[in-house]
Assembly symmetry: C2
Homo-oligomer: 182 residues x 2
DNA sequence: GTCAGTTCTGACCGATCGGACAGTTAAGGT
DNA sequence: ACCTTAACTGTCCGATCGGTCAGAACTGAC
């Protein structure tokens, strides 16, 4: 035993990221991580001050990358600002997929596992939003709308009265879907 | 004591929904709900077979409403299909705001509470996506893109190869923001 | 008042979790 | 060979959780 400290730390982080992404933060115990990493639970707490510290260290790179992006676009404006931000943000989410997934822990778990057969309904909603199309562009746009409306509805930044919020959400969603009003 | 059964059940559901939306499902204990509802923990389990049953009963109305919407648009196609689906979906998310929020339990808790000052970064990202505009339409659209990309990146329906997914996400996002390519 | 049935509760249980700690093992410098 | 230091572990602990159960408290019908 007694590998180099950084090797063990890396192994722990990798195992934790994988388990967090599947069972979520609260759904993963220190013992789970230790077993996967091939060490004792006590060894975890030797390398990390606590369970939360593992999570923080896992999310830090994503946070730093986002901060870097914001710095880079800080001096821009207009079309360039929007374009660079969008492209950079999309790349970030694709690069840090697993990190994002671990944030959705229970949503996925609840959606699948329980009596609520939400997955089936979500599929139906996706189909309808895509206009029954199976083409990639339509399906990606449908996913975008699914997530956009879901989060914006819950966000409530108090950015606008409900009627305005509703109207703008609908207009934005239809733009996303490249829908030309009939 | 010994109120009518339905009254107590309603009180429990209301308290649970409020607490779940703030602290999440796993972050709320039966004792928390009982205290807020003004009864004993044992009384909860007299009215509900278990903690999960409370959650299921809370989410059922939203699920049923979504199923109803999908039934309603099942016979439509083309532009009407997309329009009706979008409007219906937006209305659902606004109507069941609290139910959706409870699904985001830990995300919000982690974003705020910890060393990661994610909220500040999210604000910066929103500003950039909105092109530094403070107008409601731009800010709503920015929120939409924030949620859309975040969820679509993590979704990985294997709907498309990564390069296609990336390109379509960028195009969709720019459409959402009503951005005309320069 | 009596009594059956519903509603409610305090006390308790087993399981699990994050974490603390003393002690053990391996590695490297001298 | 010796000793210091880092790496690691078995074991225990307090807290918390979801859930059970026997019985108390209340209610309405008679």
């Amino acid at each position: 035993m007694a590998r180099s400290a950084s090797a063990m730390r890396g192994q722990i982080l990798e195992s934790a990221l994988r388990l967090f992404a599947v069972h979520g933060f609260r759904g993963t115990s220190l013992q789970d991580i230790a077993s996967e990493a091939g060490c004792s639970k006590a060894s975890l707490l030797y390398h990390f001050a606590g369970k939360e510290k593992i999570l923080i260290e896992l999310l830090a790179p994503a946070r730093d990358a986002l901060a870097t992006l914001l710095d880079r676009v800080a001096g821009l404006e207009g079309g360039r600002l929007v374009e660079e931000t969008v492209v950079g943000y999309v790349d970030l989410t694709l690069r840090f997929r697993r990190e994002i997934r671990l944030l959705f822990e229970d949503i996925a778990e609840m959606s699948c596992h329980q009596d609520l057969n939400v997955m089936e309904l979500a599929d139906g909603l996706l189909d309808a939003l895509a206009g029954r199309s199976q083409q990639a562009p339509a399906r990606v746009a449908a996913w975008m709308v699914l997530g956009a409306v879901f989060i914006t509805g819950a966000a409530d930044d108090e950015m606008a009265p409900d009627e305005v919020l509703r109207a703008e959400m609908i207009r934005s969603a239809l733009r996303t879907l490249d829908h030309t009003p009939s």
